[in-house]
Symmetry: C2
Subunit: 477 residues, 2 copies
């Protein structure tokens, strides 16, 4: 540690307290490491402010010293947006200590939370207040809401409730110069100028640091019915979804796709998971209906929906969960499929979206393209069919070498992305850009998009000190 | 007409055709006049392109000549955003000829429309395709979707479906330099960089011209139940709404507030309108439940909701519409209340919002403030209670002089706005800023908000040629 670092660390300690400035190399490691171990950066130090004012003071100090800041929440991001670069010059600003629920108003259906609140805590506090916060995703036990907001997180509830963007009524942001922007409004309508809030949501910390938010809550769910449906074909998924939305009065809260191979991976690699059906089928939909009305006849609705769907030739078989345990068992297949694939060995993930009516076309084309280029590769397209968001995962052929497969990534991945983008789709539906997908951004976005993004970045962060080298390239980084 | 104008008009005519360039003073008048006749500007000319490419060519020509453009849709805006200034130098660009429905996809629940499509046409086309487009507001017979998007229009469906912002999946925008930005995506999820679409929505044409959009559709409504509920008190409105959302499984699609004086204005000034109840009550809620499920027992749900609400002391009386005609009659009271006030004489409108849990506090405080400052003034707070959005209208005391009342506007209006903003509310919930509310913007926004808006404006429109003098002040205009 040189004298300059020492002095800088001491000045940070004067703001946040000595215990909240981490400089020891071993203690820095968790903040520098992508959680799956795919990428290691090197931080100058980590600072852990406990209040908005402390964040602001830290940012002002860094701005004065021309030091770049990487905001970090639960470190569950999938595109390395939360990890510092290799320079050892960037400060990681952890929001973890800002974890207060400031207020909750069950009549107003709003909740004001600090950026470091863990998503599951927010879900639980909402539930305690007889409300429902619908954002739900695999990492919910450790991800933080500030990160969810900064990445516009998706998950399984988007079909009915929208992405994080739709769930944020107000924001508090520390701007690149350390000014606190107080947009902590809980208004259903406010048309007084540009919606600045929308800019910060999904900006991955490149325009400022989200320190708190007003979240939108919903009436508490009283009943959730889950069914695993064997589809007649991939192409009948969407008519089934349309039928489900109509007959349930738009109370479909999840509609996920699973291929046969997903069931096989789950039953092979996840202890205690069994195929819920006697016969194998090529494609399945996992569907939730949910209601806030006690005594609503949702079970009957689900049964009549499935009977109609089978009669209409959209579905060929179905299992409705009869208990919470069965419900969890069905969802485990979907939720832990990524874990099953990890256990199986190498896997390439692709988080793409296309218009929902093009999902089947996309999958068929991408399957054919991958098979042609890499015969025997095992494709597992699964996920949020109702949003047109498919996680197109690919495992190597049985018996093939994992390393050789990873080396083919640069040939395989463009096949999937090109297919999605050809259908006016997205190469990053919910995971964002971070550092990992900057090359794809250059490849798939038009110059005008990149130019607009750069202009906005420079208008708000002219010295490029907020998470530089993420989302948008400016100058030499 | 001078030679320069002539040459400029001729060059425009070469792009859009001679008939689509209007220069005659009498023909210009409708484009220069705010529809209620409150403001007259003066245009250099009006140009009516028929395609995105024509819009782009017109914008390029104007940019080359340094001529400012005022985009105009149905000219139904309430804050003069669509009207040129008095200089006679600005070009009004009417989107009215861009009125094609490009595509509609009932399986995808999307619709691609051009900016000049009239909102009612869009509603009808969605209905023809067995879908539902929920944006609904008083001017729907003449307002155009481009204007709805540019002003982030609200209306009665926001409680359930969100503002226009929530209904736009993709956008096509002609940028200030004439470049076409193609963001016409119909994706449920797309996290590839800053959400540029959100910037243009609600920017009132100051960052570019919206030429087309992909709209989000919903399953067609099969039953709508309407009730007028006499509230036990203003303070019981919100508990009633919470009860309605829970018992209906969140199928409340409108929840509007009416004061007693609203019923009296409607019965006095609107032919054929009668008080739906025998006894007068101080406050009413007009509520819709709606469902996309055929054969849903929504009538029974409404009945049991109202019985519960009366038993809980939230409501004291209620009328459920038994027919489409009765439904229309109930809604006429709400929809035509502004018309009734107009017929009564002078009226000051205020479109404010507060957190829904503060609506009653806001109304009580604003009523007291106005009564103290202007004894006898008749306040009619009404509107979208479910969104916290109250149209706080004020008519002069009975028998008072209209002109004298209008002259007191500068004393009365701040009382209402100050009260809303003190409760962290908004002085323009759904109508926007335009030209009319620039002074309020300066008064109620913090310097940091104005600074951020200015930076964004200059980043996208450095020469301030897109609807200058609206929303954000730049330089001397």
């Amino acid at each position: 540690m040189n004298a300059a670092t020492d002095s800088f660390a001491a000045r940070l300690a004067a703001i946040v307290g000595r215990a909240a400035v981490i400089t020891e190399r071993s203690a820095l490691d968790p903040y520098e490491t992508e959680w799956r171990g795919r990428y290691h950066g090197r931080a100058r130090l980590v600072v852990r402010p406990a209040s908005t004012e402390e964040v602001a003071a830290v940012v002002r100090l860094c701005a004065a010293e021309n030091i770049a800041i990487v905001p970090q929440g639960g470190n569950t991001g999938l595109v390395e947006g939360q990890i510092p670069d290799e320079s050892g010059e960037q400060v990681v600003l952890s929001l973890a200590r800002m974890n207060r629920i400031r207020t909750i108003d069950p009549l107003d259906f709003t909740m004001t939370v600090e950026a470091g609140c863990v998503l599951r805590t927010i879900q639980e506090k909402a539930d305690d207040a007889d409300c429902f916060f619908p954002l739900s995703l695999g990492a919910e036990g450790s991800c933080q809401i500030g990160g969810n907001i900064s990445t516009n997180a998706g998950g399984v509830g988007v079909l009915r409730y929208g992405s994080t963007r739709a769930l944020v009524l107000g924001l508090e942001v520390v701007l690149p110069d350390g000014t606190i922007w107080d947009g902590l409004k809980s208004l259903g309508k406010d048309n007084t100028g540009y919606d600045l809030r929308q800019l910060f949501i999904g900006a991955e910390g490149t325009l400022g640091i989200v320190t708190a938010a007003v979240l939108k809550l919903f009436p508490k769910r009283q009943d959730v019915q889950t069914a695993l449906v064997a589809l007649a074909d991939l192409e009948t998924a969407l008519p089934l979804l349309k039928r489900a939305r109509a007959i349930s009065s738009d109370r479909v809260s999840a509609f996920e796709l699973l291929p046969r191979m997903g069931i096989e991976f789950a039953t092979t690699y996840l202890p205690g998971v069994a195929d819920p059906m006697v016969q194998p089928h090529a494609w399945y939909a996992l569907m939730d209906l949910s209601t806030s009305r006690p005594g609503d006849s949702l079970r009957e609705t689900m049964e009549s929906l499935l009977a109609d769907a089978i009669e209409a030739g959209e579905a060929v078989d179905a299992v409705i969960s009869g208990s919470i345990e069965q419900q969890r068992a069905l969802w485990r297949i979907r939720e832990e499929l990524p874990e099953a694939m990890r256990k199986s060995g190498a896997v390439l993930h692709h988080d793409v979206s296309v218009p929902t009516s093009d999902v089947a076309t996309f999958i068929r084309r991408a399957l054919a393209a991958v098979e042609a280029a890499h015969p025997g590769a095992r494709c597992l397209p699964f996920g949020h069919l109702g949003d047109g968001n498919i996680h197109f995962s690919i495992c190597p052929p049985v018996g093939a070498d994992d390393d050789a497969f990873y080396q083919a990534e640069h040939r395989i991945t463009p096949l999937v992305f090109d297919t999605a983008v050809d259908l006016r789709g997205s190469f990053s539906a919910e995971h964002g850009i971070g550092r990992l997908k900057l090359d794809e951004l250059d490849r798939y976005k038009r110059p005008i998009d990149l130019d607009l993004m750069r202009r906005i970045k420079l208008a708000l962060d002219p010295r490029n000190l907020m998470n530089p080298g993420k989302v948008v390239r400016v100058g030499n980084r």
